[in-house]
């Protein structure tokens, strides 16, 4: 994972990508919120949280934006998988699935532009977790 990519300011293309991702996530959240029922409502809340996490300017969110991207893409993929397991074929469902596919594609593009190769990023994160220096016990309870 290169530090320069993370620190690099957002270009116009990055902003358009980010707007599109947030818009698609909120659009999908809206669709699911109109369907009624606990499962759909929770799904909608998840998309709103994901959209917010993609843009919130908090240091920890900025630092782990790569993880948020993976989470959002995984969430959309899980929603698609849920529909494949128990499908319903009508226009709103098709629209929601199209939005989710587009969301995954845009998040993947955003990931590559901002973070680089996903495999390198994940393996780098795992390596840094495993090689974190061990802190001696302070003696306090």
């Amino acid at each position: 994972m290169s530090e320069t990519r993370i620190d690099r300011p957002l270009s116009d293309v990055d902003i358009v990508l980010r707007v599109a991702i947030v818009g698609l996530a909120l659009g999908d959240a809206y669709i699911h919120s109109t369907l009624g029922g606990q499962l759909f409502t929770l799904n909608a809340i998840g998309y709103v949280v994901g959209a917010a996490a993609m843009v919130v300017p908090i240091a920890i969110a900025v630092r782990y934006r790569w993880l948020i991207r993976i989470g959002l893409a995984g969430y959309a993929a899980t929603t698609i998988a849920g529909w494949i397991i128990d499908p319903i074929f009508y226009s709103t469902a098709y629209l929601a699935k199209a939005i989710e596919v587009a969301l995954i594609v845009l998040v993947a593009i955003d990931f590559v532009r901002r973070d680089g190769n996903p495999i390198d990023v994940i393996s780098g994160a795992i390596r840094s977790l495993l090689t974190r220096p061990h802190r001696p016990a302070s003696g306090r309870a």
């Binding site: 902003i15 818009g23 809206y30 669709i31 109109t34 369907l35 029922g37 226009s91």
Partner: protein
């Protein structure tokens, strides 16, 4: 600031587009209502009845009154496994009344449900 405003405007436009598309779901054709039509309603994510009775070997109608904004439909299956659909229709948002024309069914006990909310279900007895 200009960039932030553009961000907000484009986001609102995208969500608005999704909202408009979501509300235009397809509906079944509405034949004129037969006085002998079966009636069922949906409210608070529940059907008004869990049992319907229909005549065997004769087409019949179901007048479905969706009383809430959540989309619902009435789909009829061979049994509760919902593997074989014998009649289906597109879910629609209410409040709205839609009349389905159901083809003739052989005598037996069928299973009906809302495809969007499978917990909303019941039995259709055809005799």
């Amino acid at each position: 600031m200009k960039r932030f405003l553009s961000f907000v405007l484009i986001t609102i436009a995208t969500v608005g587009l999704a909202a408009c598309s979501a509300s235009s779901s397809g509906r079944a054709a509405e034949p004129s209502i037969d006085p002998g039509a079966l009636t069922i309603a949906a409210k608070d994510l529940a059907f008004s009845t869990s049992t319907l009775s229909a005549p065997a070997n004769k087409p019949f109608q179901i007048a479905f009154d969706n009383q809430e904004s959540a989309p619902h439909n009435v789909a009829i299956y061979r049994d509760s496994s919902a593997a074989e659909k014998v009649f289906g229709s597109d879910p629609f948002s209410g409040p709205a009344l839609v009349t389905y024309g159901v083809p003739a069914l052989a005598p037996g006990t069928y299973f009906f449900r809302c495809d969007v909310h499978p917990a909303m279900s019941g039995e259709l007895v055809v005799r």
